[in-house]
């Protein structure tokens, strides 16, 4: 298992390099001259040429990419065109906020989606099950923007219970988590429900019942572990989407995170910052995919054996 993790960590490197290359290429070929942005009113031929030399922008595309990667490996994300401060510092300040919001959404979507999915999968003909499935259908179709604004209107403006912006307390985390997580919560809930429905009528569930296992343990000890595979897949796949959604969430709730930083720096043509944000997000997705694979191995002994975990 340990060997597998190490192997997978190394396998992440080419993936992240590839992502970096794609993003870098897109940014490079986007029309427009970055020195325009940086120099603003002070722009002149000579100043521009001088700045380009200083930033290495006069070099060939390949050399520029090579330099970027070389710096990246040393943990250097370059300088922002706008603030002239290291992008790394910005990311360090902003990224934790994004992580908190994503984690909040994740806790909401797993903590609510999984139990509801289990229950309505075990009792598929109950009123509860039907109601939650309709709610789930609504959940997947609500746009984050709209839902976020609606939540603010209700809980902040009308009721005044929760803050509508910022990220400085637990209370301020609630609305963003709801807005960001509800789509995925509905997804997780529906997946859990349908795989639970599937698992609960398997022969081995009947075997468990025939042993005298009580209903609670039939679900928790026998069905759940088998039913979790698709759910975890969905959660894993949604991490990328969550990071995409976080851009909107941070905008709606004015949270100083990487998502908003990304939007701002795209608007300002601040290439190094844009690159930095995207690279960080790519690393995030790659790591969470690895975590998902590790969880698979803990759930299913057959997969663990494939990973070379040996017996048990």
């Amino acid at each position: 298992m340990f060997k597998f993790v190490v192997k997978r960590l190394f396998a992440m490197i080419p993936i992240i390099l590839a992502v970096t290359f794609v993003v870098f290429t897109i940014m490079y070929f986007t029309p427009g001259d970055p020195t325009n942005v940086i120099l603003g009113n002070e722009w002149s031929e000579t100043a521009s040429a001088q700045l380009k030399a200083e930033l290495g922008l006069d070099q060939s595309f390949i050399m520029q990419f090579f330099h970027y990667v070389k710096n990246l490996v040393q943990g250097n994300f370059g300088m922002s065109y706008i603030t002239r401060a290291p992008v790394g510092d910005q990311l360090l300040a902003r990224f934790p906020n994004t992580l908190i919001v994503v984690a909040g959404a994740m806790v909401f979507c797993v903590g609510v989606g999984v139990p509801i999915g289990i229950y309505s999968g075990v009792k598929p003909y109950s009123l509860f099950s039907n109601v939650t499935m309709v709610a789930g259908l609504l959940g997947v179709s609500l746009p984050i923007f709209w839902l976020g604004l609606l939540l603010i209107l209700l809980f902040s403006v009308q009721l005044g219970w929760l803050p509508s912006s910022g990220l400085d307390s637990f209370a301020s985390l609630i609305l963003p988590s709801l807005a960001l997580g509800s789509n995925y919560m509905a997804n997780v809930m529906r997946t859990t429900r349908s795989s639970m429905l599937e698992v609960i009528r398997q022969d081995y569930i009947r075997t468990a019942k025939a042993k005298g296992v009580n209903e609670r343990n039939v679900v928790l000890k026998h069905a759940l572990q088998n039913a979790m595979m698709p759910t975890i897949t969905v959660i894993g796949m949604n991490i990328g989407a969550l990071l995409g959604g976080v851009v909107l969430t941070e905008t709606v709730f004015s949270i100083p995170g990487t998502g908003r930083l990304l939007v701002e720096s795209i608007n300002k043509r601040d290439t190094p910052t844009v690159l930095g944000c995207l690279v960080i997000m790519a690393v995030c997705v790659a790591i969470s995919n690895l975590v998902v694979d590790i969880i698979y191995a803990y759930i299913d002994p057959r997969i663990k054996a494939q990973y070379g975990g040996g017996k048990g």
Binding site: R206, T207, A210, K211, V213, I299, D300, P301, G312
Partner: protein, 334 residues
């Protein structure tokens, strides 16, 4: 205590007039249509019948495990040592399942939980019913494994690491873990190849004798019946159409269907060149024939056969049959 009660307690299992249908939106599968079965303490009953005759459904009802929500028990009772299974509450059912009654399921490939070790799966019922610690249960589970011929140290492996025959042994070990009073064996050997079949059968028989269990042996193999059973019930379209002890059924069979079953057997000693399979197909349980359900396939069918269901007729103390040929007025018997 009145006499009737004493009599009932001698029976490990009594199924009375059981009717179970699978009801879905577009059809009703009439799986079990008035089954009566009695197993006396320590005896083995063979339940024989074609595929779809309702054998598994009947067996599941004994544990009250007929698949919900389609499976509906429409009438009848199942009595375990006189106690009605259908009126037990969940707690009582949990106490009965695995301890008083255990079942060896038909398909060993799907009957084991893929994510638990085989040891844990055997230990589970021991831990539930014997109220022992986890370690003790696991220790006993290993002993059970050895009993069914698998080295105890393989208890830590998962089902995917076992062959089909070994899985079947694990399923047997699970069923026997708490030495139940009644063992239901649902075609325990059909999934196995012939050499292993004989071993597994021998194993079940030995263990059954060792623990003085009653057994319901479901099979469509009359050879197995001859080997392990005391009595036989022949099932057809969800009814028991003939019942008797081994001699009654093997030497004095009465029902045309039973006769057909024996005629369809390859007879090695007589070297009969031609088998005589029963003509026609087994009836469609969503649309059973009127009257005697066997009449479209029966060589002896009479007018009355398509009109009314034959009543159970006791031919001797031990032997009964459901066929119009044995009406009191009818002369043309088999």
């Amino acid at each position: 205590m009145d006499i009737k009660k004493v009599n009932e307690q001698e029976n490990t299992l009594e199924i009375k007039n059981l009717v179970i249908h699978y009801i879905s939106d577009d059809e009703v599968v009439k799986a079990v249509n008035g089954v009566n079965i009695t197993i006396k303490a320590g005896k083995t009953l063979g339940l024989v019948g074609e595929t779809g005759a309702g054998k598994t459904t009947t067996a599941l009802s004994i544990l009250n495990l007929v698949p919900e929500p389609q499976g509906k028990i429409l009438s009848g009772e199942v009595l375990l040592e006189g106690r009605s299974v259908f009126s037990m509450n969940p707690l009582e059912l949990e106490e009965v399942r695995g301890d008083k009654v255990a079942m060896i399921f038909q398909d060993p490939m799907t009957s084991l939980n893929p994510v638990h070790t085989v040891g844990a799966q055997i230990a589970e019922s021991i831990a539930i019913h014997r109220k022992v610690s986890k370690q003790e249960a696991l220790k006993q589970a290993k002993e059970m494994l050895e009993l069914v011929g698998i080295p105890g140290e393989r208890a830590n492996e998962y089902p995917y690491q076992f062959s089909g025959g070994m899985k079947q042994r694990v399923v047997i070990a699970i069923a026997l873990a708490c030495s139940p009073d009644l063992l239901i064996a649902d075609e325990p050997t059909t999934a196995l190849d012939v050499t292993i079949q004989a071993q597994v059968l021998k194993l079940i028989n030995e263990l059954r004798q060792k623990y003085h269990m009653s057994m319901l042996m479901i099979t469509h193999d009359l050879g197995i019946v001859a080997e392990v059973c005391d009595e036989v019930s022949i099932a057809y379209a969800g009814r028991i159409i003939e019942h008797g002890n081994l001699e009654d059924i093997f030497d004095h069979m009465r029902h045309p269907y039973t006769k057909g079953l024996f005629d369809a057997l390859p007879d090695i000693e007589a070297r009969r060149s031609e088998l005589k399979p029963i003509k026609g197909l087994m009836p469609d349980p969503t649309n059973l024939p009127t009257g005697c359900p066997f009449h479209p396939r029966c060589d002896y069918a009479m007018e009355i056969c398509s009109q009314s269901l034959p009543q159970t007729k006791w031919i001797s103390e031990t032997h009964c049959v459901e066929c119009h040929l044995y009406n009191d007025t009818n002369e043309s018997r088999l």
